[in-house]
């Protein structure tokens, strides 16, 4: 147990490991994109890992997650296998959406993972509805909805927060504020850049947290989740930064290198292990062991995706409607 960090060694290693799994899978995805194994749009979570890990560690197995098109990390952290995520990005039938969704549309019914939604803000109402279903059926589970700060400009953000509060629904709204909606800085698109003030105007609890600090996110998310589970929506802003371009097509003309480098100094994959080290929670060989385990998971996923089959074209029109239902 570290007094300074307030965590045990095992906990620290677990958080590090979770962030590392996301980072290495994303790096592999970027490489596979350049090799044309992955196509379409690819939005990487690199730099933002502490947010997803800190929040998702606080959920119970029955809770629902609704995410955006930058969701590979969230999917992996909710227990969807790296194999099925990678196979999905390869467009294979073994993918978590049968190859029909791709990078932006990862789904998993068993994990209650409702996408992978690629209309900015469009999934917030869906999260509200899941919360409504839980409340009306007396279930204790909650819905955790991730979105970027760009979504705050959409009407759905305002409509959804209002409705969730009006009906007291168990939804945790997690705004991952990475400062840029594609290439538009928050201050270039919003008159009020304090997102918590916007959220609080709907009379719900709103708080912000340093998204580069996994322990800070975990602590804030724990408090928020408890509050949501008691039956009210909460808004949590995770202040973070993406180190990579918006997608693989982005020439990054809107921000300078220095800014990116400054944020990289706060890379949670660098700073968190350092803190563990300083707190005396690490042992020789930890890093090597962790890296090897994660590398092996990613390599296995890539090999699986490579070997998997494509869905036959004869299946193209299946599942537009339920099979066996009136059509």
């Amino acid at each position: 147990m570290s007094e300074a960090l307030g965590i045990e060694r095992e906990q620290g290693l677990h958080l590090w490991r979770q962030m590392l799994r996301v980072r290495r899978m994303e790096e592999a995805s970027a490489e596979l994109y350049t090799k044309s194994k992955i196509r379409g749009f690819l939005h990487l979570y690199i730099g933002q890992e502490a947010g997803g890990v800190g929040v998702l560690e606080q959920l119970e197995p029955g809770d629902a997650v609704v995410a955006t098109y930058r969701e590979h990390g969230h999917a992996l952290l909710r227990g969807i296998s790296a194999r099925s995520i990678m196979a999905e990005m390869f467009g294979k039938q073994a993918g978590c959406s049968r190859g029909r969704g791709g990078s932006m549309h990862l789904f998993d019914a068993a994990a209650r993972f409702y996408g992978g939604n690629a209309i900015v803000g469009g999934h917030l109402p869906l999260a509200v509805g899941l919360g409504l279903a839980d409340r009306l059926q007396g279930r204790k589970q909650i819905t955790c909805c991730f979105f970027g700060e760009g979504a705050v400009a959409e009407g759905e953000f305002h409509e959804s927060l209002n409705l969730a509060r009006l009906w007291r629904l168990p939804v945790l709204f997690v705004c991952e504020n990475n400062l840029y909606a594609m290439g538009t800085a928050l201050a270039r698109s919003e008159a009020q850049v304090d997102l918590c003030r916007k959220a609080a105007s709907y009379d719900l609890h709103a708080q912000a947290v340093d998204g580069m600090d996994v322990l800070a996110v975990a602590a804030a998310a724990r408090a928020c989740v408890d509050r949501v589970r008691s039956g009210e929506p909460v808004f949590l802003e995770v202040k973070t930064y993406r180190f990579r371009p918006h997608s693989m097509f982005d020439p990054e003309l809107y921000r300078d290198r220095e800014e990116v480098e400054r944020w990289k100094e706060r890379d949670p994959l660098v700073t968190f292990p350092e803190r563990l080290e300083q707190a005396g929670l690490l042992e020789p060989g930890d890093r090597e062991r962790l890296e090897a385990e994660v590398a092996s998971e990613v390599a296995d996923a890539v090999a699986f995706a490579e070997a998997a089959e494509f869905e036959p074209v004869s299946d193209l029109c299946r599942f537009v409607y339920a099979e066996g239902a009136p059509e």
């Binding site: 993918g95 789904f107 019914a109 109402p125 869906l126 509200v128 509805g129 959804s160 409705l163 409607y321």
Partner: protein, 330 residues
């Protein structure tokens, strides 16, 4: 207040209300939400009295947030409920178009069949009440363009009473379009609630000389035309399409192959309309069996004007239908 549905004359509005009431009684997962469905009793008074009977939890007044409450309907359906979402008019539904087209319609396919959306969305459509260009259009044909959803248009009291339950049983999203001119129509509804096959069009009136194919608010117009033509010795068949997606092509083609002439009546605009789709299918599948090119009677291609004489001039009229029929019979 509750009409005796075992044997009585009821309005389209009452039939729809009874369908909702019946569904709510039969299935605790069913609930209704939308603007003014509770305290106000529904913009068209369809849900009048239901708040008192079922309470605030199951008859939910929503803010004027079409996107949020339609999307919440999608989420609630995913979460195990069977929502009926009422959108005041098809015009307002455009504020929820993203939810319907990008999410409700896509989820099953996009998720590899993991998530279906058993949601019913009801809305009014159509012109005729001098409500001008933002409350009068017939946009159901747009929705019928989209795979992943089903589109119903009850034109009769029987269908108003009988379509909702099978729509709620459907594992996929179903949109129900209620033409605003129909709510005060009445008919005798006797015996058990009608069982409606929501895959099938209906022959509203049999005939041998020409097929009038239509749906919703213009079924009455087609029937009126058929009665007028009968006096001239012309037997017109009226097909109430009633399912706009997926179209019941078999019934359409069977009728047209028999009568060898087709007039499609559609209150929407002609360009890119459902009428265009019906004509195209007839031309593709029955071209050589036709005596005349399939033809259409649609609304004038203008935003609907307010003034009564202009609105009526924009809408399909009896004379237009009769002219079209005489044209294909010539």
């Amino acid at each position: 207040m509750t009409p005796d549905f075992r044997m009585s004359t009821v309005s389209y509005r009452e039939a729809m209300r009874e369908a909702i009431r019946d569904a709510m009684r039969r299935d605790p997962r069913v609930f209704l939400m939308g603007e003014d469905v509770g305290r106000y009793g529904g913009c068209y008074a369809v849900s009048k009295g239901l708040l008192e009977e079922f309470g605030e939890e199951r008859i939910r007044d929503t803010p004027l947030s079409e996107s949020a409450f339609v999307g919440a309907g999608i989420g609630a359906a995913l979460g195990g409920l069977r929502p009926i979402v009422e959108v005041m008019t098809v015009n307002f539904s455009l504020l929820a178009l993203d939810q319907i087209v990008n999410t409700a319609a896509t989820l099953r396919h996009m998720s590899g069949n993991q998530f279906g959306v058993p949601l019913v969305i009801r809305m009014t459509t159509g012109a005729g009440r001098q409500l001008a260009a933002q409350h009068s259009h017939s946009l159901e044909g747009w929705y019928a363009h989209v795979p992943g959803i089903k589109i119903l248009a009850p034109a009769t009291i029987q269908d108003a009473r009988g379509m909702l339950w099978p729509a709620l049983q459907d594992p996929d999203p179903v949109l129900i379009f209620e033409h605003n001119s129909l709510y005060n129509e009445t008919a005798a509804l006797t015996g058990e609630p009608p069982e409606v096959d929501i895959r099938k069009a209906q022959i509203a009136r049999p005939g041998r000389d020409v097929s009038l194919l239509t749906y919703g608010g213009t079924v009455a117009l087609a029937l009126e035309a058929a009665r007028t033509l009968e006096a001239e010795g012309i037997q017109a068949e009226v097909i109430d399409l009633r399912v706009l997606r997926p179209l019941d092509e078999a019934t359409i083609l069977e009728s047209v192959r028999r009568t060898r002439r087709a007039v499609v009546i559609d209150e929407a605009w002609r360009s890119g309309s459902l009428a265009a789709e019906v004509c195209a299918r007839i031309a593709e599948e029955a071209f050589y069996e036709l005596e005349a090119p399939p033809t259409r009677v649609c609304s004038a291609e203008v935003p609907m004007p307010y003034a009564k004489h202009l609105e009526q001039a924009a809408l399909p009229q009896l004379a237009d239908v009769l002219d079209a029929v005489r044209g294909v019979l010539a």
